[in-house]
């Protein structure tokens, strides 16, 4: 049967009172459908209600119906595969889900409730292995793409399938005539199906699912309809083959064993919205929740202006609390625009898209880029933050079992609550490394299971050479509680860790720190330590894009060094094979080069970190990391910097790098220093700036390059005592870059210059305060002058002065 015939067939036979069989075609999470399903059940008082949900999750129905289960909740199903990762999929419910309403209404009239879809294990196996992220057990076809939707959108002036759906159906929520409403949904979905190529339908698991659902309907009808009819609540796309259950089912047997294990978890609107992104239901659940609550309270069709007003007022109130008050005229304009747009578009009132358009018109002043802060805020508001609750009787999620199993395997004692210590030999024993990763993972999830007392701190890069890691750990109910909390991020330890890291990254972004490179790299390191591998790909991508936005030369250089140290690391931070860090390093390198051009315009206080960064970069490029990047570009960039006349420190540092790498002639360094030291800068310490730059980058040049010490020595010799005292602290600061051995070497070289050995210049140290020393020096000067005035210098110095 094709095209129009399918549509007419569905229209005519959705409800078959003579057979006691009614189909309720719906769109998941649609409040308008929920309303119609509610009216239908109250009207027909069915004996059995069949719901499109995996049959192997039926054991969760009592927990779903428990009075202390509050939506949003989700049925989670897990499947261990022989090869490949463990699969997890979710079936979320919110209070405006037609399925939820069907369950609650059905229970109220004592109807038998059944889940009729194919087992969740089969559905997970059929899913695309390339798809990452949480999987949805409710899938919908073609509501947002396809020729039919496009053509209708064009005709009705809607921008996408979501707006089209709202325009056609959500506007009719509260409609008393459920037959007409569900008939129209059925027709719409039948048209979607008729315009979907048959081979596309056959390719997926739809035929199997439909056969299974048909078999369930067949069985339910076979039980008789004398106590009441059978209602089947089904995604509208599947309505047509289910009109004739016997034919579609063939000899398929319903039910059967499932390899998946399933449980009920509390769920949140945030996760639900993310799951919607994968093709199920409607986005921004708080909006539809508001619509549902509004209609529930009125018990009839909504007052659209009132709803829009409530939403805008609620949004304005929340924004005021967050310190972004919206002036009343702007609120009025928002409402007016939204309402007028709705009229223009032929709607009874402002829908979600109209509200967004109204917001764009009234609140965005200035040029808007793709994402605007106000739109983002409104998206967040309409997404909502509601968290559900699960009945206490619903049992424990498997993440707890997963953690316990791993702990036992890695020889952590978890049978009692006693605190124990454990030392792990990270680099030599793979099992110890695995244990360390486990402990890090549990620490990442804030479970309080283990605390690190000693050993290398890889996240902060402290003492990374240590071989042993020392932990103190204990299992407790608190650990289990925290794990259950973490179940929202994932069903196993690795997936929960990943979810947790993603949540932390999202929190960074929400606090305006999306570009905080050290924090992003720390998150990445935490993931590595917890044993995550290719899943961390998105973090690398995030780091790469933060690098590309970075305006901070030292920070970017630091990030490049960090990335290189991870790349070179062979211990707990060693990279899994699938993660390509080199391109990110190369990007950091390009960014560093780009930011080099800022160096000539640096403020004085920003220069010291830049010197450190230059040193790190030149060291890095002398190491094996140079092979990964085009080091020549860095050198070219430095040439450009020096031409642009930067601060003298930078000239010193860049010349030193050039001399060290052989790019510049050796004599350039003493020439530069001599020129600076002899220069006419009235402020003596500034003449030392070049030297500071050289010492910050490569102290050894002081004695390895001929003429450098001479230049300094000559400068000091020409200073008067007062001048020397003025320069002294600055000289000390500059020379503090030397370590004691290097300082000795400089002393040796200097003493050779003046004859004698370094020991001759050793002084006895006295506790003399600087002002006393100054007073002494002043007195000596006065004495010398007085002796000179009396022409007695020769007499007092024996003719040697």
């Amino acid at each position: 049967m094709q095209g129009e015939a399918v549509i007419h067939d569905v229209r005519g036979r959705l409800f078959q009172p003579e057979a006691g069989f009614y189909l309720a075609p719906i769109r998941h999470h649609s409040p308008a459908c929920a309303w119609a399903v509610q009216a239908m059940i109250r009207d027909l008082k069915p004996a059995r209600i069949l719901i499109e949900a995996p049959h192997d999750l039926s054991h969760l129905i009592p927990h779903l119906l428990a009075p202390d289960t509050v939506p949003p909740v989700a049925m989670a199903s897990l499947l261990d595969q022989k090869s490949g990762p463990r699969l997890a999929a979710y079936y979320p419910f919110c209070s405006h889900s037609p399925e939820w309403v069907a369950l609650r209404e059905g229970a109220a009239i004592g109807a038998e409730l059944r889940f009729v879809d194919l087992g969740s294990d089969a559905k997970m196996k059929a899913s695309d292995p390339k798809e990452t992220g949480p999987q949805a057990l409710v899938r919908e076809h073609g509501f947002d793409s396809g020729d039919y939707v496009r053509a209708l959108c064009e005709r009705l002036g809607c921008r996408d399938g979501f707006e089209l759906w709202d325009h056609l159906f959500e506007t009719r929520i509260g409609d008393g005539d459920w037959r007409r409403f569900l008939g129209d949904v059925g027709t719409y979905c039948a048209a979607l199906r008729a315009s979907t190529p048959e081979d596309q339908i056959q390719q997926g698991d739809d035929p199997k699912r439909e056969a299974h659902m048909a078999a369930c309907i067949r069985d339910a009808l076979a039980q008789g309809t004398s106590e009441g009819p059978v209602i089947c609540v089904i995604g509208g796309f599947h309505a047509w083959p289910l009109l004739t259950p016997e034919a579609t089912a063939g000899d398929v047997q319903a039910g059967g064993r499932s390899e998946a294990s399933s449980y009920l978890i509390r769920y949140g609107y945030k996760d639900m919205d993310a799951l919607m992104g994968y093709g199920a239901g409607l986005p921004q659940p708080a909006y539809y929740q508001a619509l549902w609550d509004h209609v529930e309270a009125r018990e009839t069709a909504p007052s659209w202006p009132e709803l829009a007003q409530d939403l805008v007022a609620g949004f304005a109130a929340e924004m005021r609390r967050n310190g972004h008050a919206i002036p009343v005229p702007a609120q009025v304009e928002l409402l007016r625009s939204a309402e007028t747009l709705a009229q223009l578009r032929g709607r009874p009132g402002a829908l979600r898209h109209d509200l967004f358009d109204g917001l764009t018109s009234s609140l965005l002043k200035g040029e808007s880029s793709g994402s605007d802060v106000w739109r983002d805020r409104f998206v967040q508001f309409l997404r909502g933050t509601a968290l559900g609750d699960v009945s206490d009787g619903a049992g424990q999620p498997p993440i707890v079992a997963d953690a316990r199993a791993r702990a036992a395997r890695l020889r952590f004692t978890v049978t009692d609550g006693q605190r124990r210590e454990r030392s792990l030999d990270l680099r030599r024993k793979p099992t110890h490394l695995a244990a360390s990763r486990f402990a890090h993972a549990l620490a990442l999830l804030d479970t309080g299971f283990a605390t690190r007392n000693g050993g290398p701190d890889f996240v902060n890069g402290l003492q990374t050479g240590l071989l042993f890691e020392h932990w103190e750990y204990a299992w407790s109910p608190h650990v289990e509680g925290q794990l259950i909390e973490a179940a929202i991020h994932g069903d196993s330890l690795p997936s929960a860790c990943l979810g947790k890291l993603q949540a932390e990254r999202a929190a960074l972004a929400e606090n305006g720190r999306a570009d905080d490179l050290p924090s992003l790299i720390a998150l990445f390191k935490k993931g590595l330590l917890a044993g995550l591998s290719d899943e961390l790909d998105s973090f690398l991508a995030e780091i790469a894009s933060a690098i590309n936005r970075s305006a901070d030369f030292p920070g970017t250089a630091r990030a490049m060094i960090d990335l290189h140290s991870i790349e070179a690391s062979r211990g707990p931070l060693s990279l899994p094979n699938g993660l390509a860090i080199k391109p990110v390093m190369q990007q950091a390198f390009s960014r560093v080069i780009y930011l080099c051009d800022d160096l000539p315009n640096m403020r004085d206080e920003a220069i010291p970190p830049c010197l450190t960064a230059l040193r790190l970069m030149s060291e890095l490029l002398r190491s094996d990391a140079a092979a990964a990047v085009e080091a020549e570009r860095f050198k070219e960039a430095l040439d450009r910097v020096i031409k642009a006349d930067p601060a003298p420190e930078l000239i010193g540092a860049i010349t030193a790098i050039g001399v060290e790498s052989g790019r510049r002639a050796e004599h350039e360094l003493p020439d530069l220093l001599t020129a600076q030291l002899r220069g006419s800068a009235p402020d003596l310490p500034t003449r030392l700036a070049g030297l500071r730059g050289v010492l910050a980058v490569s102290p050894s040049l002081l004695w390895t390059v001929a003429g450098v010490l001479d230049a300094l020595d000559e400068f000091l010799n020409h200073l008067s005592d007062t001048e020397f005292l003025e320069v002294l602290p600055h000289l000390r600061l500059a020379l503090s870059a030397l370590n004691p051995r290097e300082a000795d070497q400089v002393a040796e070289a200097l003493s050779r210059r003046h004859g004698g050995s370094a020991g001759d210049f050793s002084v006895h140290h006295h506790d003399i305060a600087p002002d006393e020393a100054a007073a002494g020096a002043a007195m000596e000067l006065a004495l010398r002058q007085s002796l000179a005035a009396d022409r007695l210098e020769d007499w007092i110095t024996g003719g040697q002065a």
Binding site: R159, E333, S337, T340, L344, G366, E367, N548, R633
Partner: protein, 364 residues
């Protein structure tokens, strides 16, 4: 002065599309706001097209934007169209006023030389001296005319007007009245229903004046975005370059691969993201389709009249700096970074890109 359809370079929208407007008016069943020539839905159909009454689509890209513009004009706020140059802001403003008022010619062309009189009224000084202030001697501005007739007034490039001139708009937009004390106490013109203002502005160019927040509050802002579809943009550039080259007696056009380089360079730098997803530092300069046409046109002229060879990536590279990076040293850095990374990588597999990379590297 009247437009002479036979010789005018370009006719106003209401004359260019007179047939379509007539058909829409005849078929218009929907309610019209006071003072409007068409109903809001018919205005929408005029701009976005309606095959049923043979009305062509005139504005591409963002349909909800057009809805919002129409709704803004129905309210008390003015409509401010902002966005990069070359995104058809003025076209949209012309189409809207032609459809709403049947007249798109009540225009103030904003520039630094505009004074308050151009927004309110001036005088015929001969009459003023001869008769003193009288209605006969008064010269109404396009805005005043629009108020008297209940039509849409257009102000192009509002941000190019001096701040004090912009200020004159504030009370005009909130009070919707112009007082004329010279004609006697209490004399004023109150706007008829149907009056509103469409302004276009450029917020990013250099040499524009910042808008006061009081003025911003009186406008609904709509950002007209550059063309989102790369293939369509390429076609548009090719077409416009072709139109410009028609003025010269030389048959030449940009080869496909060179045109691809132009489109890619402009799109990558404009969006901050290369086709393969790599992040690109965005210059402050306007990377609009209009500028892309300038670059392509310049490259073609260079190739045809100066170097006398077939246009290559090198001609594009030579034009880029002069045409695009006019006034910001920082932008040159960003272009260099782009050339160093993206263009270099592409040059490994494409000859056109390799030539572009080599020349651009020397130019920067």
């Amino acid at each position: 002065m009247d437009v002479r359809p036979e010789t005018a370079q370009k006719l106003p929208a209401e004359q260019r599309y007179q047939d379509e407007l007539d058909r829409l008016r005849a078929a218009d069943q929907d309610p019209k706001p006071a003072g409007w020539a068409l109903s809001p839905r018919a205005v929408r159909r005029f701009i976005l097209g309606d095959k049923a009454v043979q009305v062509s689509r005139k504005f591409y890209g963002d349909d909800p934007l057009v809805d919002r513009c129409i709704v803004a004009l129905m309210g008390h706020q003015g409509l401010m169209l902002v966005g990069e140059p070359g995104t058809a802001k003025s076209l949209l403003s012309e189409l809207l006023s032609a459809a709403v008022s049947g007249n798109s010619r009540l225009v103030v062309q904003g520039c630094a030389g505009v004074i308050e009189d151009h927004l309110r009224y001036g005088w015929n000084y001969a009459l003023l001296l001869a008769e003193g202030p009288s209605e006969r001697a008064l010269v109404p501005s396009p805005v005043l005319t629009a108020m008297q007739e209940g039509k849409i007034a257009r102000i192009e490039e509002l941000t190019r007007c001096a701040p004090e001139v912009q200020d004159a708009m504030i009370s005009l937009l909130s009070e919707k009245t112009v007082a004329m004390p010279e004609l006697g106490a209490g004399r004023e013109v109150r706007a008829e229903r149907g009056f509103n203002v469409i302004a276009t502005a450029n917020l990013r160019d250099l040499g524009v004046n910042e808008m006061s927040s009081a003025l911003k509050r009186r406008f609904n802002f709509e950002t007209v975005a550059p063309i989102a579809d790369a293939a369509f943009e390429k076609e548009l550039i090719a077409r416009q370059v072709g139109e410009r080259m028609a003025e010269y007696d030389i048959a030449t056009e940009l080869p496909e691969d060179v045109l691809d380089v132009v489109v890619s360079v402009f799109r990558d730098l404009r969006t901050g993201r290369a086709q393969d997803g790599a992040v690109v530092a965005q210059p402050k300069s306007v990377m609009s389709t209009a500028e892309a046409v300038n670059v392509a046109h310049g490259a073609l002229l260079d190739a045809s009249f100066l170097s006398g060879e077939a246009p290559t990536g090198a001609h594009i590279a030579r034009q880029l700096r002069g045409v695009v990076f006019k006034d910001d040293a920082d932008d040159a850095r960003k272009l260099r970074a782009y050339v160093d990374t993206i263009a270099r990588a592409r040059g490994r597999t494409s000859r056109t890109w390799a030539i572009f990379h080599k020349t651009a590297k020397d130019e920067c």
